[in-house]
């Protein structure tokens, strides 16, 4: 278990600093689990035949699953999920999840901007799969006051 509720020291942060890194291994089970939890049962996220029939390279992770897991290293760094005040992403490239090998998603979280008055940090995420970025303009605003 991660330790909760330890807020980073705002004054010690610097723009460009990498505050969290993580690899997440996605399997088909993870997609089914997310489908159930979110209510998004689009079959392109669990059926190869349906994915192929609409011209996709394979079964894809839900964009919202990728968005959801990518913010978690920031949540753990910030110490409390409630510190995330704003989170945005652009879905630029799909994550294809192989039925046997799964898919490895790499996340790197770096300080993009600091607002000393509001004591908020903008954390910029780089999220990659097979060496290519899958989320564009992935930014998390974290309140550290």
């Amino acid at each position: 278990m991660t330790q909760a509720n330890q807020t980073p020291d705002f004054d010690a942060l610097a723009v460009g600093e990498v505050v969290a890194e993580r690899h997440v291994h996605l399997t088909r089970d993870a997609l089914v689990r997310y489908a159930g939890a979110s209510g998004d049962f689009n079959p392109i996220h669990y059926r190869d035949d349906v994915a192929a029939s609409v011209g996709l390279p394979g079964v894809l992770a839900h964009g919202m699953l990728t968005m959801g897991l990518a913010v978690q290293p920031v949540v753990d760094w910030a110490g409390d999920p409630a510190r995330v005040a704003d989170y945005q992403v652009r879905f630029t490239r799909p994550v294809v999840v192989d039925p046997e090998q799964g898919a490895d998603v790499a996340i790197s979280a770096k300080i993009g901007q600091l607002d000393a008055e509001a004591r908020t940090a903008r954390v910029d995420l780089t999220v990659t799969f097979e060496g290519a970025t899958v989320l564009g303009k992935a930014q998390v605003r974290v309140v550290l006051a």
Binding site: S38, G68, V71, Q72, D76, P81, D86, V89, R90
Partner: protein, 148 residues
């Protein structure tokens, strides 16, 4: 069929209230690889000053989904769901969602744009609690692919 440009500015009636369950929060947290005890453990959440377990930052999508269903069902919208791709997503929160919240979401179509054969529909769902206070605004851009 292109998306109806007259959708722009359209406001929808509030979706049915959504009651946030503790086990639902835990289920969603497991699904997005959220391991913070504040997402799972009531005592840890209370120790951090919350009324109950705190939902992950993207949980609002579950509530927003009901408003997007209203939009896709709109008879004159011209949105073919099989051609919809999620373009971008944003959540702007006044506070975190916690188990026990009763949330009401209300959708407005903020813009409809055409880019070649594709249409881009941006929809904003404002989510409020039982007291009518703002909790989170979820903004989605849906890209509706035109005929190739």
């Amino acid at each position: 069929m292109p998306v109806n440009p007259e959708l722009q500015g359209r406001e929808f009636p509030p979706a049915a209230p959504y009651l946030v369950g503790r086990e639902k929060v835990r289920e969603f947290a497991r699904a997005v690889f959220a391991t913070s005890p504040i997402n799972h453990d009531v005592e840890a959440a209370r120790a951090a000053g919350h009324a109950d377990v705190v939902a992950p930052p993207t949980f609002a999508v579950v509530v927003q989904e009901h408003t997007l269903a209203q939009l896709l069902a709109e008879p004159d919208a011209g949105i073919d769901f099989s051609r919809v791709v999620h373009g971008d997503q944003r959540f702007t929160s006044s506070r975190a969602i916690v188990a026990g919240d009763e949330l009401t979401a209300r959708l407005t179509v903020s813009s409809v744009k055409t880019l070649g054969a594709h249409s881009m529909v941006t929809a904003e769902s404002v989510i409020s609690d039982a007291a009518g206070e703002h909790v989170v605004t979820a903004i989605s851009t849906l890209v509706v692919r035109g005929d190739d």
